[in-house]
Symmetry: C3
Subunit: 206 residues, 3 copies
């Protein structure tokens, strides 16, 4: 009972943070309200939608209006607290990270349940967590941020590997999921604190 | 019998107008004939394809060559009447609007038939009508027009709500569809006539 | 036995060449290692993934790690032989063409097996061969190359028509596939040797 509620709170927080990240970038590009909402929704549900299509499942949001309502709430938030958003950056970073961790775990578990091998599940977890941001950046016509900056998707991959190791050590799925989520959060915090990033691939002309 | 024929005429007109809008924008970016055709086809069938993938159905054009032939006809039209296209703008606006209305109704009805709730059907109707233009704009590497300008996708949403109200009032699907289509057309005409647009979301730095 | 091995060698060569084309373009845009790998993988498997989703099949790479390992190998290759890649251009062109031919045949055969008409199969063959490059170009935020330059996707279409003609003449699928592949390779070589390209569609303002 408490578990479910906690997961639901995390789901709300994560969806909100993802949608807000999309809406903020859309507003910087002077999208109208409809466009900003679509970008917000896509950031929040895009990764999971792609995952469900690949897994052959019905996209999760099509029979549960929670995600679209949550994104509408994000739009209202941005409109209302526009000038305070920068000051809330630490909070949104925290919420975004919670979302990233939760969505990674969800993606892994849905894939395992659907009968896919673990390496596919880790990819699906990463896609669930980081895919929405790629759609967002395609819509606002920018090179996807996660391909160039910081460790973001890699945190999902490492969290996924942690999940797999827990599984190998005989942990049940709840414990594995919790450890996976903690690893994702830790990786994100360490990456931002110490400005960790992957090497940039050098072009041929240099 | 007459109904079917009228719907088919509308389908031809709408597909043609959508494909032509894609081909014209592709030609402005100096695409070759193949590229222009692909962008035209994608504009015409992209929204419905995405809808069918989300609904778990076989994409509608894969067993009916009508849509690809129609797009080829659009390409021929643009090549032949290139210099007259601007003068035909009012006609294409009308045809595009008819397409928008028809595709919205089709999207709603397919979703209801597939057993989805009404709010999902309205989203699917909007996606069917306005989604192709988003793919088009991603291909020509522009920020999607419908996210920034005019009331376009919103006309589909309002038409969808009209469909739902008709349904609540006990109308059958034919009447609901006709009213939905009329609302979409009216919304588009009013939006263009009075230059209605949604508020632009203000950026944080302003 | 030998057939299978030859196809597998071609599959390796083609996947490698596709992934390397993605990684090289990503490196020119200063993607990090993760981003470059994702673009490489997407170039290699994007077309086939889209094909499988449209056909209603499980995406081919989700239960066979060959393609992701092969893309990792491509990343290693680019990092190691960065300065020699330009000198290897002829080899990569050859490998890319082999991949294009093989993927076209695979796409056609999978679609026929799934019960689709021949014209759909030709489109699916073209999508399998040329679709990955479109995803690649969307990710690096460029107008898709195949819409503007050279004969690339058209080679797949003509190869597909050759396949269909062989089928009409009573050839079995192995012979039809071989001829289709040879036609694709020939078309690509002729296109590059004689700098063949499709007419550019003239804009309206000219």
């Amino acid at each position: 009972m408490f578990d479910i509620t906690l997961v639901q709170i995390f789901e709300f927080i994560g969806t909100l943070a993802f949608a807000i990240s999309g809406i903020r970038l859309a507003s910087a590009k002077h999208f109208d309200l409809f466009g900003a909402y679509v970008v917000g929704v896509t950031t929040a549900i895009g990764g999971g939608t792609m995952r469900d299509l690949l897994l052959g499942l019905r996209p999760f949001w099509m029979t549960d209006s929670f995600y679209l309502i949550c994104s509408a709430f994000a739009l209202l938030w941005v409109i209302t607290f526009r000038k305070l958003l920068v000051r809330q950056n630490n909070t949104w970073f925290l919420f975004d990270t919670i979302g990233l961790a939760l969505f990674t775990v969800t993606g892994i578990e849905k894939s395992i349940t659907a009968g896919f091998p673990f390496w596919t599940a880790i990819i699906m977890g990463t896609l669930t967590g980081a895919g929405g941001g790629v759609f967002r950046d395609v819509f606002i016509n920018e090179v996807p941020l996660i391909f160039r900056k910081e460790i973001y998707a890699l945190a999902c991959v490492i969290g996924g590997i942690a999940y797999y190791l827990c599984h190998l050590l005989g942990c049940n799925s709840i414990l594995s999921g919790i450890i996976c989520g903690i690893v994702v959060v830790l990786m994100r915090f360490l990456a931002v604190k110490y400005k960790l990033h992957l090497p940039i691939l050098k072009g041929e002309e240099q």
